[in-house]
């Protein structure tokens, strides 16, 4: 029987059925559930790596050892893993190697909107693009066939609406794959210049063979509906186009978006009077078509920003717009916020109170940039908070060094923040780094990491001792503070900013959403004592609001963290 599965769950099912033995990933929306799902199959060894580079290198090693191997990441994660990817393209594989990369058009949960197809082109690695859950499964399996046949890593690109949409999937039994024997072949695997020069020739030859494959590959499908209009498309955009245009046009749907076929494009275009290219983000199919001399329109109609959808396509190509009745009033927006009881709140409240310049990083705590705390000054990429702060303080010196901090989560610190902190110690910037240790990778939905003492399967694992680690790399001043105790946090921050040497504060308190965290009973406001000063509202806690002129705590949200109780000068908040 068919089962409804997320694209990510189906992807994992495909890996499993294809005999994958090894998976190493770093979580990242919208890719995370592939690895969480594959970890449930006992036949597959699966792990969270500290970052995507480590994940891809580990998967490459597993491939050298003869296993079908896998790594998953979000689009920006592939930037971190680009280094091994570009050279793994030269070495090729032993066991098949599939790498999932999940783009986020519309930036539902990302800091940029990059199009990962550029990495496939630049690294000269084939890329497949499924458009629904069944294709996620089928393409994951095909990925291994292609990887082994063409001796290359294979990238499989999804997008939010493919990764996080459920549709029906047929499940089949697993095909066990024997390990391929490892044979020492330095000319293939040792990428010193003399060998790499020869391998580059092999890569170019492989691309020629892959283009020949792409010309007739079953996943590059033509749907001839006898129309004069042709649409060339791929991935989620295919689904939007089908929704909007149905059988009114012919389709060339590309399941493989690198390398692209030539004759297939030309033959398809030759049968159509008008050709439209419908693709999300950059005009990669369009550039290919135009280079082949095909007259077509794409980005000039649809642009390269944000997600496409069926309404945009119907409007631009058919001139149809649905009838819409708008709500008669302007409504207040509801941006995401730090949860009630979030341990990060006490830190950001203190930083905002002291008007500290905050070098931000990637995680739930990026919400420290939101109103009313508005504490964060910049956020770039994983690990960047610490290194950006270092550069900032090196330039501004005394002007900035006692008024700036970096904030970085436990998982992000282990991802790439550690290298940056080594630089702070080694090159001695007077920087204060706050590690927001909430004992989990939060934003992506609670994944274990090297500091939590558990592995992906939930089994006990070595836990990084953050205090000892910071000491070991040369930071002398390292202290732990509890963000639920505002006075303790304030003291830690003011004291560490006052000294003229690198320092680390570990703000330690588990995420309030963790199942094992016991919540205190919700707090209440004594309306007699409440002076309506609205001090508690400055915390930006979603559980606190004003009702009938007095502060009011929503008992369904409050977890009794107590920071509003400490903040209230009138003793109006209590159990």
């Amino acid at each position: 029987m068919k089962k409804l599965m997320l694209g990510n769950e189906a992807f994992a099912r495909g890996l499993y059925e294809a005999g994958c033995r090894f998976a190493s990933s770093y979580p990242g929306t919208p890719s995370t559930e592939i690895t969480e799902t594959i970890a449930k199959y006992d036949e597959v060894y699966a792990e969270w790596a500290p970052n995507e580079k480590v994940a891809v290198e580990s998967a490459l090693g597993a491939s050298f050892a003869g296993a079908r191997a896998f790594a998953a990441m979000k689009h920006v994660g592939l930037n971190v893993a680009a280094d091994p990817l570009y050279t793994a393209s030269y070495t090729g594989v032993n066991g098949g190697l599939v790498i999932a990369v999940a783009d986020d058009p519309g930036m539902h949960s990302s800091q940029n909107e990059q199009d990962s197809r550029h990495h496939a082109i630049a690294s000269k690695v084939p890329m497949l693009e499924p458009s629904d859950s069944q294709e996620c499964k089928d393409f994951a399996m095909l990925g291994y066939e292609l990887s082994e046949e063409f001796d290359t890593p294979v990238l499989i690109r999804t997008a939010t609406r493919v990764a996080h949409s459920q549709s029906a999937v047929e499940q089949l039994p697993r095909q066990e794959k024997e390990l391929k024997p490892y044979v020492k072949t330095p000319q293939k695997y040792v990428m010193v210049p003399a060998n790499a020069k020869n391998r580059h020739v092999v890569v170019e030859e492989r691309t020629r063979k892959l283009i020949a494959y792409a010309e007739t590959a079953p996943i590059n499908k033509v749907e001839d509906n006898g129309s004069e209009i042709g649409v060339i498309t791929c991935g989620a955009a295919y689904q939007y186009a089908k929704d909007a245009l149905g059988n009114k046009v012919n389709y060339l749907k590309l399941g493989m978006t690198n390398p692209l076929p030539c004759k297939l494009f030309l033959d398809f275009a030759a049968k159509c009077k008008t050709v439209y290219i419908i693709e999300e983000l950059d005009g990669i199919l369009e550039a290919h078509a135009k280079a082949l001399g095909i007259a077509c329109k794409g980005k000039e109609i649809f642009g390269n920003i944000g997600e496409l959808n069926q309404v945009i396509i119907a409007e631009k190509l058919l001139g149809q717009t649905p009838e819409v009745t708008a709500y008669p009033e302007q409504l207040p927006i509801r941006p995401p916020v730090m949860c009630a009881g979030c341990p990060h709140r006490g830190v950001f409240y203190t930083l905002a109170k002291h008007k500290i310049t905050v070098s931000g990083d990637i995680g739930c705590y990026t919400l420290g940039a939101a109103k009313p705390l508005e504490s964060i000054d910049w956020t770039i990429c994983m690990g960047s908070s610490v290194s950006c702060l270092h550069g900032f303080n090196k330039v501004l010196g005394e002007q900035s060094q006692n008024k700036t901090v970096a904030v970085i989560g436990d998982s992000t610190f282990m991802h790439t923040g550690l290298n940056s902190l080594v630089n702070v110690a080694y090159n001695a910037s007077n920087s204060t780094v706050i590690i927001l240790d909430n004992s989990i990778t939060g934003m992506t939905g609670h994944q274990q990491n090297p500091t939590t003492g558990k592995n992906l399967k939930g089994d006990p694992a070595a836990a990084v001792d953050l205090v000892a680690l910071c000491h070991a790399i040369g930071i002398k001043r390292v202290r732990v503070a509890d963000p639920y105790k505002l006075s303790e946090m304030e003291q830690a921050i003011t004291e560490e900013l006052a000294v003229n040497e690198p320092s680390v504060i570990i703000s330690r308190r588990p995420c309030a959403l963790l199942k094992y965290v016991k919540h205190n009973p919700p707090l209440h406001v004594d309306t007699e004592k409440c002076k309506s000063c609205k001090m508690c509202l400055k915390l930006g806690c979603p559980a606190i609001s004003m009702k009938d002129g007095k502060a009011c705590i929503d008992h369904t949200q409050c977890v009794g963290c107590g920071i509003c109780e400490e903040l209230c000068k009138f003793g109006a908040i209590g159990k």
Binding site: K2, K3, L4, T29, P30, T32, E33, H108, S109, R161, H164, S165, Q166, S167, A168, Q239, Y240, K242, D243, A244, E307, N309, Q310, V311, T321, P322, E323, V324, T325, A326, Y327, P328, E329, L331, P332, I333, R334, P335, P336, V337, M338, C339, T366, L367, A370, K371, P372, M443, T444, G445, K534, L537, G540, P542, I544, S545, M546, D554, T556, Q557
Partner: protein, 191 residues
């Protein structure tokens, strides 16, 4: 059959994922092609969230755009208003009467709108408003509002109750099943 579009809207953390999975399971059991589009990551943190459920003979796009929805199921009143423009003419809203202040209201930059149900009706929408939070608390947990609303919706859809019960069995963890059955029954009996 023409594709039908349902939107499940609310505030991150209210349990829209479970509701969409129950509905998706029911529709799959009925033999429809189904797509369910979820939201994960940043917006789950107390932001406005929306899940799409589409079904019919064939479903292509997993998303629902303005003017396309047949039904909106809302866990929170302001969110019902926010997404109302996504309904087709003649569309329906099933909403909880629960209100949760968004941050601009908490900080005093905006006020929580009043008269939402009347305004929705004024837009020509068929509105069913239920105090799902109280019913959920009666069933044993405020968290079961989502399943209360699925109970309300089940009365409006033409599928056997047994199919909904089977979907509950498949989607709800065993230790919470009794409480959720109770919540579902209270929702079915509401109105």
């Amino acid at each position: 059959m023409e594709t039908k579009s349902v939107m499940i809207v609310g505030v991150g953390g209210q349990g829209s994922l479970l509701a969409s999975r129950i509905l998706g399971n029911v529709l799959l059991q009925q033999g429809f092609a189904v797509k369910v589009s979820e939201v994960h990551g940043m917006s789950q943190r107390g932001g406005s969230v929306v899940t799409y459920v589409k079904y019919g003979d064939a479903v292509y796009s997993p998303t629902v755009e303005k003017g396309e929805a047949d039904v909106i199921i809302s866990f929170e009143l302001l969110e019902a208003a926010r997404w109302a423009g996504y309904l087709k003419k003649g569309g329906k809203i099933v909403t909880s009467t629960q209100t949760l202040d968004p941050m601009p209201v908490i900080t005093g930059a905006a006020t929580y709108p009043t008269g939402i149900i009347e305004n929705l009706k004024g837009m020509g929408i068929d509105v069913t408003a239920v105090d799902a939070l109280s019913l959920a608390e009666q069933a044993g947990s405020a968290k079961a509002s989502n399943v209360v609303l699925m109970g309300v919706v089940s009365k409006k859809m033409d599928f056997d109750e047994a199919i909904w019960q089977e979907a509950l069995n498949q989607c709800v963890p065993e230790k919470f099943i009794d409480m959720n059955r109770k919540a579902f029954a209270l929702g079915r009996a509401a109105e």
